[in-house]
Amino acid sequence: MSIAYILRSVFSDVIAKVHAINRRYATPRLAMSKHVRLALLCLRIYLLILVGLLAYKFISIVIH
C-alpha cells in the first residue's frame, strides 16, 4: 500500500464523516423561536463586522 493510497483513503473517510455529520445535524433541534432567531441574526451581524475589521486590518498591513 502506498502512502498516497493511505492518505486518499483517510481523506475520503474524513469527507464521508463530515457529510454524515452535516446530514445528522441538518436541522437544528432547538425550536427557532423569535428570540433564538434574533440572537442568531445578531451573532451573524457581529461576526460579519468582526471579519470585516480583520480583513481591513490585514489589507492595511499589506498596503503599508
Partner: protein, 422 residues
C-alpha cells in the same frame, strides 16, 4: 441526646459530605485555576505593577462573573451528558456547529502556543533550555493522559492546581502594607481617572477571566467524569470554590507586583519574575514557578478541550477512561496539538508576539457565540427540564454575558487597532 452526641453526629455528617465532595470535586476547580494561565499571570502582573492595589475590587467582582458563566456548563453537561461542541451541533445545526468547532480548534491551538511561551520563559529563568522544557512538558502531559483513567488525570491536575497557590506565600515574602491593600484595594475606584489605559486593563482582566475553551472544557469534563443531575449542587460548589481560588491567586499576584514593581512597565510575567528576583529572590522564583505551573495547567486543559470537542462531533471514543487502542483519534489529536504548539515556540524567529495578540482577536470571534448558545441551550425546557434557567438566572447571566461580549470585543478591537481608544 446530649450535646456531645449531637456534636459527634454533626461531625460525622460533615465528614461524609466532605468525602462526597472530594469524590465529585475536579472540573470546577481545575478549569477555574487553569483560567489563571500564562497569559492571565502576565495580565495580573502588569495590572499590579501599573495600578498597585487599586484594582483588587475589580478582580473580586470577577469571581461571581466567572462562577455564573461556568456553572451553566455544569448543569448542561450533567443533564444532557453531552459536551459543548456536540450540544451546539445538535441545538443549532451544522453551520454554527462547524463554526464553533473550527474556531475552537484555532483559538485553542494558538492559546496552547502562548502557554508554551510562558513555560519556556519561566524555566529559562532557572537556566532550562526551551527544547528541554517542551520535551519535559510533552512527556509529562503524555504520562497524565495515558494512564487510562479520568480520575488519575484529574487528581494530578489538582496537584498542579495546588502549586498555583504558590503566589500566596510569595506575597507574604514581600511584606505588603496590609492597611494599604484594604484601604486602596477594596473600595471601587478608578486610579488616575477613567482613561483609555485603565479601560484596556479592565478589558484585559475580563478577557482572561472567561475564555471560550473554559466552556467547552468544563462541560466535557463533567460528562467524562460522569456527573449526574443529583451531583449538580456539588458541581456548582466545586465551580464556586474554583472561582474563589482563581480570584485569590490573581489578587496575590497583584499584591506582589503592586508592592515591589509599582511604577514599572511589565510586559510579561517572566520579566516580572526577573525584576522581583533582584530585590526578593525567593518571591521572584516563586513567580517563575507559578508561571510555569500556570502555563502547564492551561496546556493540560486546552489540549483536552479540543480533543474532547473533536471526539464528540466526529463520534470517536473520547474519554480519558479509554485506552489508546479504544480512542486512537482522541489521543492522536491531543498529541498533535500539543507537540505542534511546542515546536512552534522552538522555531527561531517565530512571530510569538503576533501569535499572542492574534489569540485575543480570534477568541472574540468565538466567545460571544459560545456564550449566547450557552444561554439559549439553558433555556431549552424540553432538554433541561427543571434545571432550565430561572428568570433570575437569565437576568444575571444575560447581563454578565452582555457585558463580557461588549468588553471582550472592545479588547479584541483595541488589540487590532491600538490607537483607537487613545
Amino acid at each position: 441526646m446530649n450535646w456531645t452526641t449531637r456534636f459527634y453526629y454533626k461531625l460525622q455528617r460533615m465528614w461524609k459530605a466532605t468525602r462526597l465532595y472530594l469524590i465529585l470535586a475536579g472540573p470546577g476547580i481545575v478549569v477555574m485555576i487553569a483560567d489563571n494561565d500564562a497569559g492571565g499571570i502576565t495580565t495580573y502582573a502588569a495590572t499590579g505593577s501599573k495600578y498597585e492595589y487599586y484594582l483588587i475590587w475589580f478582580l473580586i467582582i470577577l469571581c461571581p462573573v466567572a462562577y455564573y458563566v461556568q456553572e451553566m456548563t455544569v448543569r448542561l453537561g450533567a443533564v444532557t451528558k453531552r459536551g459543548h461542541a456536540e450540544a451546539m451541533f445538535d441545538g443549532f445545526g451544522a453551520f454554527w456547529g462547524w463554526f464553533s468547532l473550527i474556531d475552537l480548534l484555532l483559538v485553542d491551538w494558538l492559546t496552547l502556543v502562548t502557554e508554551f511561551i510562558g513555560m519556556t520563559a519561566a524555566l529559562a529563568i532557572f537556566g532550562v533550555p526551551g527544547w528541554l522544557t517542551v520535551t519535559m512538558v510533552c512527556l509529562l502531559m503524555g504520562f497524565m493522559v495515558l494512564n487510562g483513567r479520568y480520575w488519575t488525570w484529574e487528581k494530578l491536575a489538582m496537584a498542579f492546581c495546588a502549586l498555583n497557590l504558590i503566589y500566596i506565600p510569595g506575597a507574604f515574602m514581600v511584606h505588603p502594607p496590609v492597611s494599604d491593600i484594604f484601604s486602596h484595594g477594596l473600595i471601587p475606584n478608578f486610579p488616575g481617572g477613567f482613561d483609555s489605559q485603565l479601560f484596556f486593563f479592565l478589558m484585559a482582566n475580563i478577557g482572561t477571566t472567561i475564555a471560550p475553551w473554559m466552556l467547552f472544557f468544563q462541560q466535557s469534563s463533567v460528562v467524562d467524569k460522569g456527573l449526574k443531575e443529583k451531583d449538580i449542587a456539588w458541581g456548582k460548589f466545586d465551580t464556586l470554590l474554583g472561582s474563589i481560588f482563581t480570584v485569590l491567586v490573581a489578587i496575590f499576584i497583584v499584591i506582589v507586583c503592586g508592592t515591589v514593581l509599582h511604577g514599572v512597565d511589565v510586559d510579561d510575567a517572566a520579566q516580572a519574575s526577573k525584576l522581583l528576583m533582584k530585590t526578593h529572590h525567593y518571591a521572584g522564583e516563586f513567580m517563575a514557578i507559578g508561571l510555569f505551573d500556570a502555563g502547564l495547567l492551561g496546556a493540560i486543559c486546552i489540549s483536552l478541550a479540543s480533543s474532547w470537542a473533536f471526539g464528540e462531533v466526529f463520534g470517536w471514543a473520547h474519554s480519558l477512561n479509554a485506552k489508546i487502542k479504544e480512542a486512537p483519534w482522541f489521543y492522536a489529536s491531543y498529541f498533535i496539538a500539543l507537540v505542534s504548539a511546542g515546536l512552534v515556540v522552538l522555531i527561531p524567529g517565530a512571530p510569538l508576539v503576533l501569535i499572542t495578540l492574534f489569540v485575543q482577536v480570534v477568541a472574540v470571534t468565538l466567545l460571544p457565540a459560545a456564550l449566547v448558545f450557552l444561554i439559549l441551550l439553558l433555556n431549552d425546557k424540553e432538554t433541561m427540564g427543571d434545571k432550565v434557567n430561572s428568570r433570575w438566572e437569565n437576568l444575571i447571566n444575560g447581563t454578565i454575558v452582555g457585558v463580557i461580549i461588549v468588553l471582550s470585543t472592545l479588547y479584541g478591537i483595541s488589540t487590532l487597532f491600538p490607537s483607537m481608544f487613545n
